[in-house]
């Protein structure tokens, strides 16, 4: 770590914080733009004006917008995201178990998807234009060009309805054994992983082909360097940055996929809560969920950029 790298990393983190600020403002602005008043909505049509007024006061809705924004930000910083409009329970309390479940799902998917995608993407690039590569290309292209729900429904149909090997819905409360655990998770994780992997394999293939066609790779062959060493010593250091970026970017499709998959499998995660809240317009929950998702995403892309910077001598300032 030297001064140059530190400066670049700080600048990148600064840019991420800027984006985060944008996200926070956008989330607040959009939810504040909700048509109709939350108080009206909560109390229904036959509410007295007095009751509405009281509720508005209780919810700080009678304060100017910027003050509400400051309140909201302050609350968020203290981990206090307000109360659910529907249940009245604190948002954080509702979110915590859901967040845990979602992390479990996303984590399991990442563990499956990233190593597999790395191996398959690398194999595609190495044996470019071979039968294997062509099959993978069509397969991944097919998966990335159909909506996530389609993959999920088709696999439910095939594995749960036709063959009945796994349960169609994930009821994680009924897990009592390791075997059950795997069976319950198998479907959501497998579908989510296949969506994410397709994206990753395509990107990893593209950046590996870029690296492989660099003149220094030909030079290594001409020097008589064995293939394994070319791969590990010459290609890998140059591929780390682009591949890290590819992985981070595909995790965005993972986040989108999580929303769909949790809904389809009725998996009690954050995304399902968010979809339900959008339907019921439970603003504090929508805000908190979006913020959590965006922060994850920003964190991952920033991390990838920093890895990319540190992986090249020029970035390191070595």
């Amino acid at each position: 770590m030297n001064a140059r790298l530190a400066r670049l990393v700080l600048r990148r983190i600064g840019a991420a914080l800027c984006s985060l600020l944008f996200v926070v403002v956008a989330i607040f602005a959009l939810t504040a733009a909700l048509p109709g008043d939350v108080a009206d909505m909560l109390l229904g049509q036959n509410a007295t004006p007095d009751a509405t007024q009281a509720l508005r006061h209780a919810l700080h809705l009678d304060q100017p917008l910027w003050l509400r924004f400051m309140h909201w930000c302050g609350g968020m910083l203290h981990g206090n995201a307000g109360n659910s409009l529907l249940t009245g329970r604190p948002v954080s309390e509702m979110l915590a178990p859901r967040l845990y479940n979602s992390l479990l799902l996303a984590g399991a998917t990442t563990l499956v998807a990233v190593p597999l995608a790395l191996v398959l993407g690398l194999a595609c690039a190495t044996w470019r234009d071979s039968v294997f590569d062509r099959v993978m290309t069509v397969l991944t292209l097919g998966i990335v060009s159909v909506p996530a729900f389609l993959i999920a429904t088709v696999s439910v149909f095939v594995f749960a309805v036709q063959f009945r090997v796994v349960p169609a819905l994930s009821d994680i409360r009924s897990i009592h054994s390791v075997g059950q655990f795997f069976l319950t998770f198998a479907m959501p994780v497998a579908t989510l992983a296949s969506i994410t992997m397709a994206q990753m394999i395509r990107m990893i293939r593209a950046c590996m082909i870029d690296v492989f066609s660099a003149p220094y790779m030909e030079m290594a062959v001409i020097k008589g360097v064995p293939p394994i060493r070319i791969m590990l010593h010459h290609a890998l250091p140059n591929a780390i940055g682009p591949v890290a970026n590819a992985i981070a970017l595909s995790l965005s499709s993972l986040l989108g996929g999580v929303v769909v998959i949790e809904t389809i499998f009725n998996y009690p995660g954050l995304a399902q809560l968010m979809v339900d809240s959008v339907m019921s317009r439970d603003v504090p929950i929508i805000q908190a969920c979006t913020l959590l998702f965006c922060m994850t995403y920003l964190f991952l892309t920033t991390l990838a950029d920093i890895v990319a910077l540190a992986s090249v001598p020029k970035g390191r300032g070595a």
Partner: protein
């Protein structure tokens, strides 16, 4: 004789330029979206049979859905809404993105800074979440859907076209035109844009696919196109129970989405590989 031969060759798929292939495929879907419903035998909401999830028959070619409505008619309307919403939103995102992308190659640096920050901001919200958020705020009217999809994919179009325009603006023929004293509009319209056409078209195709995917996912979640209107995603959603019976009501819209997106993607992928 030779005239006929060239005519035939022009009809062969491989003789078409990549741009012609993409335009051709897209044109087909557009025509289907606009004209298809005129050929629908029934109104989309009309319940025509007591049998739900009926199989194919001469009365209703593609069977019926979960309420006993004619699936073929509903499918034609669904294609209309999916294709038109996505076309409009793609036109919006690519129009804004390309205009902004090219314009910022000529404007002062601070304009580019502001535009770039804004685009980065939008990009930092994963697209499905962004859509959920906007729909939570503005509801799920068709206009809101079009604008939501449009805004979400503007940054991508902006980045692509800006990179393309920057690369072309560095070319010596632009230098020569500037030194000759050509106006900014001439340079953008006659010198830069014609050279962006190919890659830009590929980008438009990609954004159209993204829009179809996002819209279908939203509708599937019940947050996109709302009844009585229908699009491909909501068609799958409402008939999802038919899956158990292997009903065409859920399989057919699924296939149509696949054909739409995979088809365009295959054409694009084939062109980018060469």
């Amino acid at each position: 004789m030779s005239g006929m031969a060239t005519g035939l060759r022009a009809l062969r798929l491989s003789a078409l330029t990549p741009a012609q292939r993409v335009m051709g495929l897209f044109g087909f879907w557009l025509v289907l979206a606009v004209c298809g419903p005129f050929f629908a035998p029934y109104a989309p909401g009309q319940i025509i049979d007591t049998e739900v999830f009926a199989p194919l028959s001469h009365r209703h070619w593609l069977g019926t859905d979960y309420l006993g409505r004619d699936l073929g008619s509903r499918l034609l309307y669904a294609v209309r809404y999916t294709v038109l919403i996505c076309t409009l939103s793609t036109a919006f995102s690519c129009g804004c993105g390309v205009l902004l992308g090219i314009a910022t190659t000529a404007t002062p640096a601070w304009v580019e800074q502001i535009a770039g920050r804004l685009m980065d901001g939008i990009l930092s919200i994963p697209s499905l979440l962004c859509a959920l958020l906007v729909i939570a705020a503005f509801g799920d009217s068709l206009l809101a859907l079009v604008l939501t999809l449009g805004v979400i994919y503007t940054p991508g179009a902006y980045r692509t076209s800006r990179a393309l325009a920057l690369r072309i603006a560095r070319m010596d023929y632009i230098t020569v035109a500037v030194a000759r004293g050509e106006g900014a509009l001439f340079i953008i319209w006659r010198e830069i844009l014609p050279n962006m056409r190919g890659p830009l078209l590929a980008d438009v195709g990609l954004r159209f696919i993204y829009a179809v995917l996002l819209l279908s996912n939203l509708s599937f979640l019940g947050l996109g196109v709302q009844p009585p209107l229908v699009d491909l995603g909501s068609l799958v959603r409402e008939n999802v129970l038919g899956l158990v019976y292997g009903s065409g009501a859920v399989i057919l819209p699924t296939i149509v989405i696949g054909v739409l997106t995979v088809g365009i993607n295959l054409v694009l992928d084939g062109t980018s590989r060469r």
